[in-house]
Amino acid sequence: MRRRALREEPLIFERNQLRTLRQGVLLPSLDVADIEPTAVLPPDLVRDDVPLWPDLGELEVVQHFHRLSQLNYAVDEGLYPLGSCTMKYNPRINERTARLTGFADLHPLQPDDQVQGALALMWELEEALKTLTGMAGVTLQPAAGAHGELAGILMIRRALEERGERREVVLVPDSAHGTNPATAAFAGYRAVEMPSGPEGTVGLDTLDRMMTDEVAAIMLTVPNTLGVFEHRIVQIAELVHRRGGYLYMDGANLNAFVGRALPGRMGADAMHINLHKTFSTPHGGGGPGAGPVAVSEALLPHLPVPRVERTDDGRFRMLWDDPSSIGALRGYFGNFLVLVRALTYIRAMGADGLRAMSDVAVLYANLVRHRLRKAYHLKFDAPSLHEVVFDDNRQAVRDVHNTDIAKRLLDYGFHPPTMSFPLIVHGALMIEPTESAPPEEVEAFCDAMLSIAREAEENPELVKTAPHTTPVRRVDEVRAARQLKTRWTPD
């Protein structure tokens, strides 16, 4: 609980209301002739309006953002157990290497001979990801997981076209994250929902029935969004391949088994990796991420361009054109400065570190499962890997729901788990501790959850009216949608 006064911070547009001119940033002094814009540009194109935002001194700007930052919870403050988000520690060394001017001050269109270090870095990261997945090739281009999914599905579509086949359907389990069917639809496929079996996993009978020659691919998250490993994955992949389809693997939950198991051996044809999840690059309050995609031999020819190639003399070049490629899904080569952080992390952790990472992630999730079971309902009994999904069934009889539990957790100084997802668990609480925190932090989280369960029994109003100690209370989201106001305007 914050025991210091926090002033409410106005919008920047509300500062310096008289709009007096203060010195913001000192510009380089003008050592050429000052040109009047309307003398060289069509006057109707030249701005003639008054800027909406003020000019402020440097400290005023610093204070504005400093105060705003203090309204945020962050990984550096405490546990952030968001299921499927893998909110692990963002090592500080990553921030140093990403800021090296030899990386940050590079233009993407500089010729290959000027950027051999950058190309080598991308190559090394690709090789490391190939090793970690046991797969044949990697693209570093996608900007995020969802973007990687699209790349994977488009490569599959291209492979089918080369085979002279046109399949219309992609199968997606009902437990899947919304990006999966959204991606399939975006790529022109019909996303058909596959019901999960009683253990929350894909049933082979269901798959056998639904895997027709109309199906281009199945998109599976492994382990699934319940934190349960698809133990029949090898048979699933074999069945899909036998019927001429492809297996797309959503790698959001890779933190569960990295260093221990290889998606390549599971039969994955394409798998995206969220560097901002498994490989510690920061979430940044909503990005940037990076979603490289590892592919099997079958999809290798269709990797996006531009991509890095190694030449015979051990140097590197950027390949810009390849008729078999699906083309470019964004400008340039990828979120390069995010890739720098990921390679830094992989080098620092090493093979044993990466394996220990998943070991402890799974260990902590099982500790949470063990301690919270007596108080919270667990819908699926199957073993959990790196995340565990409870629901609010027991608390709902007192009209306390997962949202209330989440809001009450804020009062205890923790970020809530993921809620209301997967859709197959009503009132879900998806908890992923990750391996970064000390055991005492994970135990303190468990204590908080148990305390809230008791409150739900003995004093439900306290939970239903939470949070009580955050900078703002529950926000009226209905009003935000009904009375849309998405920008400041002068009155």
């Binding site: 409410e8 919008l11 913001g24 050429v32 540009l41 069509p42 194109l45 701005r47 800027p51 935002w53 003020p54 000019d55 700007v61 705003l68 952030y80 963002n90 290497t97 030899g102 590079l106 233009h107 993407p108 000027q114 051999q116 950058a118 080598a120 090793t131 970690l132 975006f186 994955i233 090898v234 221990r260 290889l262 901002h276 920061p282 979430h283 940044g284 909503g286 990005g287 940037p288 083309g327 470019a328 400008g331 340039y332 979120n335 390069f336 830094t344 620092a348 570190g353 220990a356 990472m357 402890v360 260990l363 063990h370 809001k407 000390p438 955050t470 926000v475 106001k485 998405t486 920008r487």
Partner: protein
């Protein structure tokens, strides 16, 4: 054990005991043996010093733009980077936090995005802007897809000016067939702008969007009023793409001319060139299109005690709710880069941005004037066409050869255009920003002289 793994060996043993397990391997019993390995074939862990040395070695093997005078543009620009930007970005409350789904403890992030949205609206002259997209190229793709949706899929053609960045056009091509969209490209004319008559002829009742870039790829500013009218007459949506966001400090955004969408790349606002990423796509549109807006959106509301509070809104457009019917499949935006742009714009100030943009114009005009006086086969390709801070330079040999020889003279003189083909001569795109001093311009001219 490792510094970034919270539990040591004794801690793990204690937890295993509590769970009644012999070893961690017991927790992985559901993994079939055939997919498992004893150890992945990667090197062992390295201490910080060694990792840093390795990364520094890779960085040192690159020629960074700051090593000498640099005039590289073509969609990625080198502007001043005030120290406050990185200082704010380095605050852990901003960079180690997640998407603001719990508004009670994310008002910092939410308010920053609200300010960003407001700034983009003012610069573009439009009513609503989203929280950012991956980059300029994907922002353009999203605009085309939105136009297609707004017109209910009844019109399948996009009319695209050749003067839109070739990389953006390639990216659209990669998406177009999946989306059932046909792209018609209208060539550049002899003045380095899109050929307006051919644009008019191409925009028919089958067109869902007319897409132009201003300043265009060749640096020339387009007649936005006339283009908006062409789109309007055809019943199509008009889209302006901007790759050099600083130009909006001096030039009116398409919203002032009735454009439906203004989108593009805001990397110029305090985001490092970073060898191509992460960058910052921006997207603004008219209020009437808000239900089809891609990406995240922050709205203003109140909390239970009447305090002003911000939250994500209209989430029902997005994939986690709409699933197969989402407006796009974007999940992550570029939150930290939007923060960078917001800090940059607010530090420089509203008036300051106008002054900075004006410096860009003045410096580019100065260089153009000096080239005009050079002779020796050097000339500005479109001397009569208005430009902002970038222009096409022609010389005694091919753009690639010129770039190479000038680099040997210590000047990164520009981006060769030959790789992109197109209805323009083979030359160098030269960008001049506030970071190019008169000394830089002298060095540029002197290098041209030595290479003639």
């Amino acid at each position: 054990m490792h510094p970034w793994i919270g539990a040591g060996h004794e801690d793990r043993r204690r937890i295993l005991d509590e769970l009644g397990l012999g070893s961690v391997d017991d927790l992985f019993a559901t993994l079939p043996a055939e997919v498992c390995v004893d150890r992945v074939d990667l090197p062992e862990a390295l201490d910080e010093g060694t990792v840093l040395a390795e990364m520094e070695g890779l960085a040192a093997a690159n020629l960074e733009m700051g090593a000498g005078p640099s005039f590289l543009g073509a969609g990625v620009y080198r502007h001043i980077q005030p120290s406050v930007v990185d200082a704010v970005l380095s605050r852990a409350e901003f960079f180690t936090s997640y998407t603001p789904y719990q508004p009670e403890i994310s008002q910092g992030t939410l308010q920053v995005v609200y300010e960003f949205q407001t700034l983009i609206c003012q610069l573009t002259g439009l009513d609503v802007a989203n929280a950012s997209l991956y980059d300029g190229a994907t922002a353009m793709v999203e605009a085309v897809l939105m136009a297609h949706r707004v017109l209910r899929g009844a019109r399948d053609r996009v009319v695209l000016a050749e003067t839109v960045h070739p990389i953006y056009r390639r990216v659209l091509a990669a998406y177009a067939s999946s989306a059932g969209i046909e792209v018609v490209t209208v060539p550049a004319g002899s003045e380095g702008r899109v050929d307006l008559e051919r644009l008019r002829a191409a925009a028919t009742e089958a067109t869902c969007a007319v897409v132009v870039q201003s300043p265009g790829f060749l640096g020339v500013v387009e007649p936005l009023a006339a283009i908006a009218e062409i789109a309007r007459s055809a019943g199509a949506l008009s889209v302006e793409v901007v790759t050099e966001a600083v130009s909006l400090g001096l030039l009116k955004g398409g919203g002032s001319f009735g454009f439906d969408v203004v989108c593009g790349e805001a990397q110029s606002f305090g985001v490092a060139p970073g060898f191509g990423g992460p960058h910052l796509g921006f997207f603004a549109c008219q209020q009437s299109h808000i239900r089809q807006l891609p990406g995240r959106l922050v709205g203003e509301s109140v909390d239970e005690e009447g305090r002003r509070a911000f939250c994500l809104t209209l989430s029902t457009r997005e994939q986690h709710i709409r699933r197969a019917k989402a407006t796009s499949n974007i999940c992550t935006n570029q939150g930290l880069m939007a923060l960078a742009a917001t800090v940059w714009l607010e530090a420089i100030g509203g008036t300051g941005l106008g002054q900075l943009a004006r410096q860009n114009l003045s410096r580019a005009e100065a260089l153009k004037a000096r080239i005009a006086g050079l002779g020796g086969g050097w000339r500005v390709a479109y001397p009569a066409s208005p430009t902002f801070n970038e222009f096409l330079l022609l010389g005694p040999s091919s753009g690639e050869e010129l770039a190479s020889r000038l680099a040997a003279e210590g000047v990164l003189a520009g981006v060769p255009t030959r790789r992109w083909g197109g209805s323009w001569p083979d030359g160098l795109l030269v960008a001049v920003t506030e970071r190019n001093s008169a000394v830089d311009l002298d060095a540029f001219i002197a290098a041209l002289g030595r290479v003639s």
